[in-house]
Symmetry: C2
C-alpha cells in the first residue's frame, strides 16, 4: 500500500465511523454539554443509584468503543480540533466550527506545535496581529522556526485551530487559538497558506503529517476562539482570566481528554500484543526434558518472567484509566472547566507517560518472546510497535508530562505546608524519619513481604520520601543558594522524573487494589488478587535498590521480593490465557495467525488457539 | 518503494559489492585459507613486529569495511551459505560450491531453521535418506513443522545449504548439511522443491524471507558437506568426530563468524543512531532560564543521562568486538577449527546478545530524545530500529546465546574444581566469603567508588559470586535432589541469564580499560578514561540492588554511585560531539538532516551540524 492509499483508507474509515448513528449523537452531545449538564447529571445519578452494573457496563463500553474508535485520525480531527473549539470557543463558535465536523461537512486540524517549539509551547512565535481597519487578524509565520509542524490532516483538512501570539497595537497578550481556513472543499488553498507534506514516518502511515506556513493570512475577527479572551471591534482586549500564564494553562487543559485518549490507545496496543504473545507462548513448544515432548515456551522461566509483569501492569493501567475517565466524566458533567482541575490534569499526564512507556516496553518483549514470528508483519506486533512508538513523545513528551505531575505534587505539598515551608520541611523530615522506622519494621518481617498491604505501604512511602526530599532540595537551591529556578529544577530533573513515576506507580497499585476489593465474583477476585500482588511486587522489585538504600528492605527481604516475583509469575502463567481472552477483543481485531486467527495470506504462521491448561471456567469479562 | 523494488535494489547493491576487486580477493582467500595459513601467519607475524600501527589500522579497516559491507544480504549469501560450505565442506567442495558465489555465478541460502525448531536446532526433522541404488540423498519435509522457514534469498537464490537428519538404512546420524539446488539461472525450480514468500516484516525489507519445502528431492551423494561426516557409495557412514553431540556442536560453530558480524552490524546501527541523537541534542534548543535564550536540549539532565551511558557502552562494545575479531582472526590463521574454541564461541554469543540488546535500547532512547523529528523516516532512526530489531532473536535468540555463555562458564568452572565438585563448592564458598570481606572493604571506602579499579573489581566479584551460586544450586538440584536436568536448569534460568550478562559486562569493561591503557595520545586517553569510568559506573549503578543485597555497596556508596553517574554524564556531554565525529562515518552514510546533512526531500528537518562547545581539537579517529 502506498502512502496515499494508506491515507485515503484512513479517511474512508473515519467517514464511516462518523456516519454511525451513535457517533453522530455522541459528537452532537459534545456541543450541547454545557447546556444540558444538569439534566444529564441527574440521569447519571439515577443510573448509578438504580443499577451499578449499568454504570460498570458504561465504563466497559467506553473502554471498548474508545479502543475501536480512537484511531489517531479521529483523535486529530474530532479530539484535538474539536477539543480546541469546544474548550476554547463560545457556544456560538461551537455551533459554527464544530457541529459541521460532526456532520462531515469539513474536517479540521490542530496546529499548536512549531518547528522551534514542541514541548515548550508557551514559546510559539506564530503571530496574529489585529488589524482594526478591516476587523481582521493577520496570521503570520515570521521565521522558519514558527512553521506549524507535524500537523495531522494538513494535506487534506479544511480548517485549522491555530495557536498564535495575539498582538494588538504591538503588544502581545500571549498565545490564543484562531480558526484559520486552509483549503476549500475543492482543495483550493486559502490565500497566503502553504502546506508541505512531511511524508514517511516510523508508523501511523494512515495519517498525513504536514507543515502549515502562513504568509499574512487574513481571517475575520470572529475567528478568535473567545472563551478565554476576545478583542472588540475597536481593538480592546478583554479576558475572564487576568494573568497571561493562567490563560495559557487554561488553553493547555484542552489537551487533557486527548491525552487520556492516548492512554486508551496505548492500552489497546498493549492488550493486543499480550493476547498474541501469551497465546503463542502457550502453543509454541521448544526444548524440554531429555526424551520427552518439548515444553510450551511459556514454561521457560525467562518467558513468563518477561510477559507476566506486563500483563499485571496492563490490568493496573486499565483500572486506573477507568478511574481517570470517571473523574473526567464527573468533572465535565458537573460543568467544571478542566483547567480548574489541575489534579486531574496531573493524573492524566502521569498516566499518559506511564502507559505509553509501558506499552513500548511490553510490545518489545512481546516481539522478542514471539521470535521470528513476531518480526513478521502478518502477526501484527511490528505495526503495533511502529504506530504506538510515537505516543511517548507526542501530545506532550513523556519527560514533560512527568514534570507536569511533579509541579502539581509540589503545589499540593506547599499548600499542605502552608506558608512556612521551612517549618514544613523540618516537620516532614521528622515524620519521614518516624515513617521510616514504622514501615521498615515491616520490611524486616519476612512474612509480610507478600502482603498487598506491605506493597501498598512501600510504594506510598517511596513517593512521600521522594517528594519531601525534592521539595527540600529545591528549597535549598532556590531560596537559600538563590539559584535561578530553571537551573535548580534541571539539576533535580532525574529526581523529578523519578518522583513522578513513583507517584503514578502508587496510583495504579491503589486503583488495582480498589478494583480487587470491589470485585464480587469469588474466582475473579482470587485471580485479580494474584495479579495485583504481582504488579505490586514488580514495582517494588524494580526499585529494590532504592528501598535497600533507605533501609526499607533488608538484603534478605529484597531477595525475598525476587523469589516472590518469580513465584507469582510462574503461578499466573496459565491464568494469563484467561485474562487475555477476557480482554474481549474480537478475532477480527486480533488477526494474528500465531494467536489462532487464520489468515489466508500467511497460512504458515497459523497456530491453533491454545486451550486452557486447566478446566476452570473463563473469567467474567474484565 | 514496493517490496519487490526493495529486494531488487538490495540484490543490485550486493552484486556491486561482490564485483569490487578487494572483495573478490577477500572472498577467494576464504577458500584458500586452509592451504595458506602458514604463509599468512608468517606475514601477519611480520606485520605485527614491524608495525603495530598497521595492525591497528587493519583492525580499524576491518571495522569500517564490515560496517559498510555486512549488509544482511551479504551475510546470508556469503556469510551463512559460504560459512557453511567453508566450515563444513572438503577443499573440493569449497571450490565447487563457494568459489562460484564469489564470482557471481550463483547465489546461495542457508536453510537451518524449521517452523517447529528455531532455537532448538538439534530437533530439526527434515530428512536426508541415503538411497544406495542411485547413490543419492532424498531430501524430504515430512511435516509442516519441518518446513525450512525465514530463509533469506529463498525467492531468488540458486543453491541452499540445508540441514537435515542424515538417515542411512533407517538409522539417523544426526543433523548434517547438504547442498540442494533450488532453481536454475532461469528461475526453473528443481524437481520437488517449492518456495513460499513470507512477505512483509518489521524491517529488512530488502531481504526476501521464504519457506522451502522438499518433496522427496533427489541430490547426488557428493552434495553432503563432508568435513564432519561422509557416506561411502555403498552406504557406510564415517566421521572424524565420534559423538553425535560433538558433531552437531562442530556444525553450529559455523555460525560463530556470522554472529560476530551481527554484533558489528548492531554497533553500526547504534553508532549511527548516536551520531544523529547527539548532534541534534547539541543543535535543538528548548526551555531555559527566564528571559534568556532557551538551552540546548543536551543540557537537560534527563537528556544526557539517557544518551551518555549508551555512548560509553558503544565504545566498550567497539573495543570488545575488536578483541573478539582479533581472537577469531588468530584462531583461523592458526588453522584452528572454530568448533574446538568453545571459549571464543561463548564470547561471541555473549557479545551478540549484549550488543544487539544494547542497540535496541540505545536506538529507542535516540528516537525518544529526538522527539517528533526522530519519528520521521528522513531522519533514519525509525528504519535503523526496524531493521536491527530482529538481531535480538535471529542467528541465535539472545536468551539462547546467554545459555551458551553460561554452559561454557560452568564447564570452565568444573574443570577448575576438578572432579571433586563438592570440595570445590566448599572451597569456593570460603573463598567467596573472604572475597566478600576483602572487596566489600572497598565498598565502604567512599573515596574509592570513583576508581576504575573499584569498578573492575565490583563487576568481576559479581560474576564470580553468581557463577559459584549457580553451580551450587544446579549441583543441589541435579546431584542431591535428582531433578531432571532441563527442569533444574529452567528453574535457574533467570540466574543463568543474569550470570551471562554479568560476564559479558565484565569483559566489556576490562576490554575498555585495556584500550585506555594502550592509548598513547594524552588527550584521547583522558577522554577515554572518562567514558570508561562512565561505563563501569553505569554497569554498577544498574545492578546496585545486587551489590546492596550482598553488602558490597552500603546505602551511602550506592547513592554515591548515582551521583557519580549523573556527574560523569554531565561532564562528557560536550565531548560526546567529538566522539561521534570520531566514529568517522561519512556524511553520505549519515544522511539525517537533523544531524546536519541536508536532504532536498526534507529541508524542514535540517539543523546545521553543531560546533564543538569548546575550542579543543577533535580526537584522533577511534
Amino acid at each position: 500500500m502506498t502512502l496515499d492509499q494508506s491515507r485515503d483508507l484512513t479517511a474512508e474509515r473515519l467517514y464511516h465511523l462518523l456516519r454511525l448513528p451513535f457517533m453522530k449523537e455522541h459528537l452532537r452531545n459534545q456541543v450541547n454539554t454545557t447546556h444540558t449538564h444538569t439534566q444529564r447529571e441527574r440521569e447519571r445519578q439515577r443510573e448509578r443509584e438504580s443499577s451499578a452494573p449499568l454504570h460498570y457496563a458504561f465504563k466497559k463500553y467506553y473502554g471498548v468503543t474508545m479502543i475501536k474508535l480512537c484511531c489517531h485520525m479521529f483523535g486529530v480531527v474530532c479530539g484535538l480540533y474539536g477539543g480546541a473549539v469546544n474548550n476554547l470557543g463560545s457556544p456560538e463558535q461551537k455551533m459554527k466550527w464544530y457541529l459541521p465536523v460532526s456532520e462531515l461537512q469539513f474536517t479540521g486540524m490542530f496546529a499548536m506545535t512549531e518547528r522551534g517549539h514542541g514541548s515548550n509551547v508557551r514559546g510559539i512565535i506564530t503571530e496574529a496581529r489585529y488589524n482594526q481597519s478591516t476587523q481582521e487578524f493577520i496570521i503570520h509565520t515570521p521565521s522558519e522556526d514558527a512553521q506549524k509542524m507535524y500537523i495531522g490532516n494538513a494535506m487534506k483538512g479544511h480548517y485549522a485551530a491555530v495557536f498564535a501570539q495575539l498582538i494588538i497595537n504591538g503588544e502581545s497578550q500571549g498565545p490564543h487559538c484562531f480558526i484559520v481556513p486552509i483549503r476549500d472543499q475543492n482543495g483550493v488553498m486559502w490565500p497566503g497558506v502553504t502546506t508541505t507534506d512531511m511524508k514517511h514516518k516510523e508508523g501511523l502511515h494512515g495519517v498525513d503529517n504536514g507543515i502549515l506556513i502562513f504568509n499574512n493570512v487574513r481571517i475575520p475577527r470572529e475567528n478568535l476562539l473567545r472563551k478565554f479572551g476576545s478583542v472588540s471591534a475597536d481593538g480592546l482586549y478583554s479576558s475572564p482570566v487576568l494573568s497571561k500564564s493562567s490563560r495559557f494553562n487554561a488553553m493547555l487543559a484542552a489537551l487533557t481528554p486527548t491525552r487520556l485518549g492516548l492512554t486508551v490507545q496505548a492500552m489497546a496496543a498493549m492488550k493486543l500484543g499480550l493476547v498474541i504473545a501469551v497465546r503463542y507462548s502457550h502453543s509454541r513448544r521448544q526444548f524440554g526434558p531429555k526424551d520427552q515432548d518439548e515444553v510450551k515456551i511459556i514454561e521457560h522461566q525467562t518467558q513468563y518472567l518477561r510477559l507476566m509483569p506486563h500483563l499485571a501492569a496492563a490490568l493496573a493501567l486499565i483500572f486506573t484509566t477507568r478511574y481517570a475517565a470517571g473523574l473526567m466524566d464527573d468533572a465535565l458533567c458537573q460543568g467544571q472547566d478542566l483547567q480548574s482541575n489541575r489534579a486531574l490534569q496531573a493524573l492524566v499526564a502521569g498516566l499518559k507517560a506511564y502507559s505509553t512507556w509501558e506499552n513500548v516496553a511490553c510490545l518489545q518483549d512481546c516481539r522478542e518472546c514471539t521470535g521470528g514470528m513476531g518480526f513478521m508483519m502478518e502477526n501484527r506486533i511490528p505495526s503495533l510497535k511502529c504506530d504506538s512508538d510515537v505516543f511517548v513523545t507526542f501530545e506532550g513528551d513523556n519527560m514533560v508530562m512527568l514534570q507536569v505531575v511533579v509541579r502539581e505534587l509540589l503545589t499540593q505539598y506547599t499548600k499542605l505546608m502552608g506558608n512556612n515551608l521551612v517549618m514544613g520541611l523540618i516537620r516532614n523530615w521528622t515524620s519521614s524519619v518516624s515513617d521510616s522506622l514504622r514501615t521498615s519494621f515491616l520490611g524486616f518481617s519476612v512474612d509480610k513481604v507478600g502482603d498487598l498491604m506491605f506493597l501498598l505501604k512501600a510504594v506510598s512511602y517511596r513517593e512521600r520520601v521522594l517528594q519531601r526530599s525534592l521539595a527540600s532540595r529545591l528549597y535549598t537551591k532556590v531560596k537559600k543558594n538563590k539559584d535561578e529556578f530553571f537551573m535548580a529544577w534541571n539539576a533535580c530533573l532525574h529526581h523529578v522524573t523519578t518522583l513522578a513515576m513513583a507517584h503514578i506507580h502508587r496510583v495504579t497499585l491503589e486503583q488495582f487494589a480498589l478494583a480487587v476489593r470491589e470485585c464480587h465474583i469469588k474466582e475473579d477476585r482470587a485471580l485479580l488478587t494474584k495479579f495485583c500482588l504481582l504488579h505490586g511486587t514488580s514495582l517494588v522489585y524494580q526499585e529494590r535498590a532504592w528501598y535497600l538504600e533507605h533501609n526499607y528492605l533488608t538484603p534478605n527481604t529484597s531477595q525475598q521480593i525476587r523469589s516472590q516475583l518469580l513465584e507469582l509469575c510462574r503461578s499466573v502463567k496459565d491464568d494469563a490465557l484467561k485474562v487475555v481472552d477476557d480482554f474481549n477483543i474480537p478475532s477480527c481485531c486480533i488477526q494474528a495467525p500465531i494467536a489462532g486467527v487464520p489468515n489466508p495470506r500467511a497460512e504458515w504462521a497459523f497456530y491453533p488457539q491454545p486451550q486452557y491448561p486447566s478446566s476452570t471456567q473463563p473469567l467474567s469479562k474484565l
